[in-house]
Amino acid sequence: MSTKTRDGGRPESGGHPVAWEGPPVDLTAQSPRIGEKIIKAVLVGAAALSVLVTVGIVASLFAPVAEFFTHVSVGEFLFGTEWTALFGDKFNWDDKSWGVLPLVTATLMITLISLVVAVPFGLGAAIYLSEYASQRVRKIFKPILEILAGVPTVVYGFLALTVITPILKPLLGIEGIYSMISPGIVMGFMIVPTVASLSEDAMSAVPLALRQGSYALGANRMQTTVRVVFPAALSGIVAAVVLGISRAIGETMIVAIAAGNMPLFTADPLKGAQTMTGFIAQAASGDTPHGSPSYYALFAIGALLFVMTLLINMISIRLVRKYRQAY
């Protein structure tokens, strides 16, 4: 039935009368069904809104970013290793360095540190809750874990600055009060619930029959988890980690508080360095006049963040497709 349409509309080839001797029957709609049309319109609007907002963001970035790149070459921006956007005369383009790499490396470094914390702890928590914990323990544990995701990020920022940094200082020999490792670790804790909760959902969704099949072949719990449940849930787990990465890259408050305001091109996590979001927070909250170079720089960095997140999402979709084990 290739002509059948999903919404019950008339197939294109329909409408052919066939001779019929008996009493006629009226199959036309008995009411106009306005309610359904209204509901459909409301739902279309809801779905369209998020698309419109995204399009609006891209559109609003476009003009200032174009303006920025009339003054700064793309090559200098992407490959320059010095960023001094807030130095010197506010309205002078030429006395500043516009290399964004220090901000990008700091962002990636802190993201990496946070993943080193969040992935093992998050997956560990997910495996425990999904495969080992009793129903009762899970019911208590999971909401508590999710509360952790609701803590305001400014609290995490102060935790990093006033608790984690002083603890790490003598251990690792951090020089100043700012470092990348401290906000990285705290950000990792912040992401743990995201990774754990979504991974746990993915693993719990693996059918019990697969686990039973594994146990019946003499596998123990760990083998069943690692060899059957984990691969079957992998696409959901990848999605959870990617969401964690996106949160880490976009996270602002923790790094603004605990990583410092100095752009620094370094691979040493013990040093403080400004991230992309950190710069945006600093410049946007400071006295950046409309139309000044640093004003346009805000948009350029915003656009770069947007592109990075987009790339990560695209890569993750690829990964999920590649490793998907449908069951």
Binding site: P207, Y215, A216, L217, G218, A219, A326
Partner: protein, 299 residues
């Protein structure tokens, strides 16, 4: 066992109140049928006063029966009579159900598998299981079959040979030999179920438990699995739970009939009513409840 055999199972009219019941005949014609057995089973697995609880609920009680090696034993009975529960006790799959408790003994070669120093993994390696719905892992056909030997740490010199032998044993080799690396989900339902059988025999078990293995399959796939069961019975001990009485009559040599009876509080507990050779159960059952069930008057 390729001889053509026709077995006719008829039930006499044996009614207690003298009213007549329509005579029912089940005629089975197949190329592949197990030979009938005589005498008592040798008891490769023996159940003694088996009783299973799910928390406070007594699901099955008072089961005493014995399974013969290289025989097919069918467990039949209406829904909720505890036959699947009994089957799952035989390789301790009930361990996975929270609150499940087993009393009495399940002796495998005389050893109670619920004994203290029994390793459940050893039990399950020797007593394999095939489930109601085909449940291949979302892996390649090859990896599905190799899974059991790998996780149980079997000393295998050549996994390819093990996989091939298991797939041949499950009459699946010719259909899949060119696509061993493909995902098992690409197979049809019947092929998936034979893959699950291959997976089970890859660990070289002695006993294979089958929990309604054909209930999710079409008649052609069912016939293939039944033929396979009969063939496997020359090597393995098979215990099958089935709702399909013709199937029990066709493939099994012994049949146990279970039913559930409610106590004064309305709790239904499963019991073994009658256990005998399949010929006897379907031809001349001793218990009126068995006869009522197999003639289709209840359940």
């Amino acid at each position: 066992m390729t001889r053509s055999e026709q077995r006719t199972v008829s039930t006499e009219q044996r009614t207690t109140q003298g009213d007549s019941t329509p005579e029912k005949q089940v005629t089975i014609e197949r190329s592949n049928t197990v030979a009938p057995v005589e005498g008592a089973p040798d008891g490769v697995i023996t159940l003694k006063d088996l009783e299973v609880f799910y928390s406070d609920f007594r699901a099955v009680t008072d089961v005493n029966m014995s399974f013969g090696s290289r025989e097919i034993t069918a467990l039949i009975g209406p829904s909720g009579c505890g036959k699947s529960t009994v089957l799952r006790c035989l390789n301790r799959m009930n361990d996975l159900v929270p609150g499940a408790r087993v009393e009495g003994a399940v002796a495998y070669h005389g050893v109670d598998i619920y004994g203290e120093d029994v390793d459940v993994i050893e039990v399950r390696r020797r007593i394999g299981m095939v489930f109601q719905k085909p449940n291949p892992f979302p892996k390649s056909i090859y990896d599905n079959v190799a899974y059991g030997p790998r996780v149980t740490g079997m000393k295998v010199s050549d996994m390819d040979t093990v996989v091939e032998r298991a797939l041949r044993g499950a009459a699946l080799w010719d259909e899949v030999k060119d696509k061993l690396k493909q995902n098992a989900f690409g197979l049809s339902g019947g092929q998936q179920q034979r893959l699950c059988i291959a997976r089970a025999i890859a660990t070289s078990p002695e006993v294979i438990l089958m929990d309604e293995p054909c209930s999710a399959l079409d008649p052609i796939a069912t016939a293939k699995i039944e033929d396979l069961m009969v063939e496997l019975a020359s090597t393995y001990t098979i215990i099958i739970v089935t709702h399909n009485m013709q199937q029990a009559a066709r493939v099994s040599q012994r049949t146990g009939f279970f039913t559930a009876e409610a106590d004064e509080k309305g709790q239904r507990t499963g019991k073994l009513v009658e256990f005998d050779t399949t010929e006897h159960i379907f031809g001349n059952p001793s218990d009126a409840r068995t006869e009522a069930y197999i003639t289709g008057r209840f359940g």
